[in-house]
């Protein structure tokens, strides 16, 4: 991320969304926003002429053991400026509004986060597991995930047309 959004625009953002927080000391501060205002912020960032963040380049999440963090990397093509928007979520019942209404291209990425991290997206059109099987339990990318022991498949040995268990 070469060109990160500058301090003047960040303060303009803070004016429009008083709930948004960022570390003004950091070189590339991520903007933290409460889940309730996320879609409004993204629409603002996308449609406001000063920002013009029309591309959602990346959507992901991270598990920080006590809380989850949703990470949205937005890119304004033209000025080539980046902004990172983050949402902190409760670890017990993580729910975040879906951004598919703002960026329809986020559909699969949100499904992936739902699948692997177990974060619910309210308002997602088709929230199902995408990479893992429907009947899979658990969310592997969580830090507290313990992999179940692989099922023991009996090994077979063929002798004279008959099949025996090898061990």
């Amino acid at each position: 991320m070469k060109n990160y959004i500058g301090a003047p625009l960040l303060s303009a953002l803070k004016e429009a969304f008083p709930a948004a927080e960022y570390d003004s000391e950091a070189a590339q501060p991520a903007v933290y926003i409460p889940a309730a205002e996320l879609t409004a912020l993204l629409i603002f960032l996308r449609d406001d002429a000063r920002f013009g963040f029309a591309r959602l380049e990346n959507l992901t999440s991270a598990d920080y053991k006590t809380y989850f963090e949703m990470v949205y990397h937005l890119f304004a093509w033209g000025p080539n400026v980046w902004i990172t928007v983050k949402v902190k979520l409760d670890h017990d019942a993580p729910v975040v509004p879906s951004v598919t209404g703002v960026f329809p291209g986020a559909e699969f990425e949100e499904r992936e986060v739902y699948d692997l991290m177990g974060i619910e997206f309210s308002g997602h059109p088709d929230l199902r597991r995408i990479l893992l099987a429907e009947d899979f339990t658990g969310h592997p990318l969580r830090k507290d995930y313990k992999q179940a022991a692989p099922p023991r498949v009996p090994r077979l040995r063929r002798e004279g047309g008959r099949v025996y268990a090898a061990d």
Binding site: E57, N58, G105, E112, L116, P140
Partner: protein
């Protein structure tokens, strides 16, 4: 009064033309597609999780296995992200070598695309020809790094080893062959009227649709949007080379094919320029063997062969990344499959899979 009803045709995961293990549920009315639902995950290996338990340097070979027909580009993307995180300055010669490798790999990957598209259209001869020519690139890679698929050549801080002395000559010999074989593909496939009729006007996407689906790479360029990160971000040493970004006009499969076809020539141009300007010097930056990037996070992206390949890495100051997320272009491009299939025929659906050019290793990660 006869009643008709729609039916579901389950294509894949074992189907000759789904490029690995993609499964698509097609809702059909006769031969006409009403809805196409891609279902993936049959090749899910949890690479993001695996990378969390490996050191930064150990993680590189795993990126080979993401998009296994353009491993160099994956290595490149991951190493760039780690370098940005750790603040490693890569020597100039290494950057040039990386660009040479990435572009050669782009040619190879597009050859696979042309070949598999031809094969899906029933012209398996076209596939054999492209794979024959791809072999020459793999020979070059073999010479450089000793592997033909999973290269693990681009490393954090540079490249694994210097180019062998005979590389430049062999590479030039290959580049001289590029116009020859592209002409052959053009005559065999592009000029073929059946081929054209199968692709033109099929699976059309408007630029707005492509943007809405967050498509990247040749797929978005086919709709006329010149979104090429080599130009947009100008990362590595790409700004030093003169090359064009081919774009399409209609956003149909024909344009997707043509964009990639022309990219082969452009990539060859870049490789030639990079070979000319290859500086002398070390190929590996100096940094502690046990790499411990400072606390922080980075999102770094490169133009992979299939689109924007991004790596989001969170470091907690230890030798292993705390969290790695890979923005896989094929995975996100797959969202457009429904729009590309809807209203077309079964025969077009396989062409649409091909034209998106997904690689299941990357989609399923």
């Amino acid at each position: 009064m006869p009643q008709t009803e729609t039916y579901i045709l389950n294509m894949g995961p074992q189907h000759p033309s789904t490029h690995g293990v993609l499964r698509v549920n097609l809702e059909l009315d006769g031969e006409k597609i009403l809805r196409a639902t891609p279902m993936m995950g049959y090749l899910h290996r949890g690479i993001e999780k695996l990378l969390e338990s490996r050191t930064y340097i150990q993680g590189v070979p795993y990126t080979d296995r993401l998009d296994y027909v353009s491993s160099m580009n994956n290595n490149f993307g991951y190493c760039r992200a780690v370098e940005e995180l750790a603040g490693i300055e890569v020597p100039a010669r290494a950057e040039y070598i990386r660009v040479i490798m990435a572009e050669l790999n782009r040619i190879a990957s597009h050859q696979v695309f042309i070949g598999s598209l031809a094969n899906d259209l029933g012209a398996s001869t076209g596939m054999l020809y492209t794979f024959r020519d791809r072999e020459e690139i793999l020979d070059l890679f073999d010479l450089v790094c000793g592997a033909r698929m999973t290269f693990h050549y681009i490393r954090v801080g540079g490249v694994a080893r210097n180019l062998p002395p005979e590389f430049a000559e062999k590479c030039r010999k290959f580049l001289d062959r590029v116009p020859e074989f592209t002409e052959e593909y053009a005559n065999l496939l592009m000029g073929n009227e059946i081929f054209q009729r199968r692709l033109k006007g099929v699976s059309r996407l408007t630029p707005e649709q492509a943007l809405a689906h967050n498509m990247t790479g040749p797929n978005i360029r086919a709709t006329g949007i010149p979104f090429d990160l080599r130009k947009v971000d100008g990362y590595s040493v790409y700004p030093q080379f003169a090359f064009e970004v081919p774009v399409g006009e209609n956003g149909d499969n024909w344009d997707r094919f043509r964009v990639r076809f022309r990219e082969i020539t452009e990539s060859a141009r870049i490789v030639r320029q990079a070979l000319e300007g290859l500086p002398e010097g070390p190929v590996m930056a100096k940094f502690p063997k046990m790499l411990k990037p400072p606390k922080g996070e980075v999102f770094s992206r490169t133009e992979g062969t299939r689109g924007e390949l991004g790596f989001y890495i969170v470091s907690d100051g230890t030798a292993k990344p705390y969290r790695v997320h890979i923005r896989r272009p094929s995975f996100i491009n797959m969202q457009a499959l429904d729009d590309m299939c809807r209203g077309y025929l079964i025969g077009d659906s396989v062409v649409a899979f091909s034209a998106i050019d997904p690689l299941m290793g990357e989609v399923d990660c």
